[in-house]
């Protein structure tokens, strides 16, 4: 008996840029994170609270707070104290910004998006 799902996974894994695949699997491993990464890609100079970022991406803060924290943990975003507010922004590290740019630009390609969605769903199981 063949394992069709396994073959598909292997094919999808096989022809994806390894660095982007790693970025996807270790950092952008949920749809909310994908939205957040896209937001900070489009607004690279933004610095704002979780409440305001939630408003900008059209979600409730409870839906993004944990994911923002995880993006901080994986070095995509940074969290800092401004007065009595905690704010989030894209890290200034050029290498990470380049990877974010590559990921979002790759998403312009439908085939890449399909593969990325597959990996995220697979990772959520």
């Amino acid at each position: 008996m063949t394992n069709a799902g396994g073959d598909l996974a292997a094919r999808l894994m096989g022809d994806m840029d390894p660095e982007l695949l790693d970025f996807l699997k270790t950092k952008v491993n949920s749809f909310v994170k994908w939205d957040l990464v896209r937001f900070f890609y489009e607004n690279p100079n933004s610095t704002d609270t979780a409440d305001n970022v939630a408003r900008y991406v059209g979600r409730d803060v409870s839906a993004i707070e944990v994911e923002l924290g995880e993006l901080v943990g994986t070095g995509v975003l940074e969290r800092s104290r401004v007065g009595d507010l905690w704010v989030y922004s894209l890290v200034s590290d050029a290498e990470t910004r380049k990877r974010v740019d590559q990921f979002i630009l790759a998403c312009d390609d439908r085939q890449f998006r399909v593969k990325a969605i597959y990996h995220i769903i697979r990772g959520m199981r």
Binding site: E42, N43, N45, S46, D48, G83, L85
Partner: protein, 254 residues
């Protein structure tokens, strides 16, 4: 003579007595669609392209992509200017930008230093009402905010939405307009069943300025200030009427 920061908008600099005074806070108020943001973007792009003064756009509502699109319709290459390190479009919130400017070495301060910014567009001041609805406290918050912009050596243009679509709005004693160095009003005016736009320089602290109400248009090149409204009075009411012909003959055409 004080250093002038030219807007580069034909007709407006002349109305301002040569431009804004350097390192001042300048309020542009108008109803939605009157051209506040366009005027602000033009102030920034002219600063970069004509006077070699990099600029920052601090937006509290519109996404940067919206500015890029709007600017493109006028042929202003915002993306390229940002890539060239002459422009930063920053979307944030009034509460964060206020707290950021209050600390030493904040992000806005870093942006100013990194590109050598001399101008800033704050779009729009109306969002500061999210911090407080108390007009006295609001005035204090805005006072501190504009002083921080001056401290950074910036000449700022701040927009504010007018609640009245047509006609005059009221200013309370605590209105933030009183702490601004200059105050420009953009108004819709109905004349002969058509809506036109009017611009008035209400004050320029420490300088003379034009007192007349000018017509302006938003063209493919941005805002163009035209002649004053001749032979009409009650312009700011939004529904001006013709002056009596005898009055025009006696005083206006002399």
């Amino acid at each position: 003579m004080s250093e002038r920061v030219k807007t580069g908008i034909a007709g407006l600099d002349e109305m301002l007595g040569g431009g804004f005074l350097s390192e001042t806070a300048n309020l542009v108020e108008g109803a939605p669609g009157t051209g506040k943001s366009t005027l602000g973007m033009q102030f920034i792009v002219n600063g970069i392209q004509r006077y070699d003064e990099p600029g920052i756009i601090l937006t509290f509502e519109e996404f940067p992509a919206q500015y890029y699109r709007d600017a493109e319709t006028f042929g202003w290459p915002f993306r390229a200017l940002e890539t060239a390190g002459k422009l930063r479009v920053i979307m944030t919130s009034p509460e964060v930008s206020r707290a950021d400017l209050e600390r030493v070495g904040g992000r806005i301060e870093s942006h100013v230093r990194e590109i050598g910014a001399r101008r800033i567009l704050v779009d729009s001041l109306s969002h500061f009402e999210r911090i407080t609805r108390d007009p006295i406290e609001l005035r204090g918050v805005v006072y501190s905010f504009v002083n921080a912009l001056k401290r950074e050596g910036l000449t700022s243009l701040l927009t504010r939405e007018s609640p009245a679509l047509i006609g005059e709005g009221d200013l309370s004693d605590e209105d933030v307009a009183f702490i601004m160095d200059s105050f420009l009003m953009l108004r819709y005016v109905e004349i002969d069943s058509a809506v036109r736009k009017a611009l008035l320089v209400l004050k320029v602290r420490g300088s003379g300025h034009a007192k007349d109400i000018r017509q302006f248009e938003i063209t493919g090149n941005g805002i163009e200030v035209r002649s004053k409204f001749e032979g009409r009075e009650g312009i700011l009411s939004g529904s001006p009427h013709r002056m009596a012909e005898s009055f025009v003959e006696a005083f206006v055409r002399r």
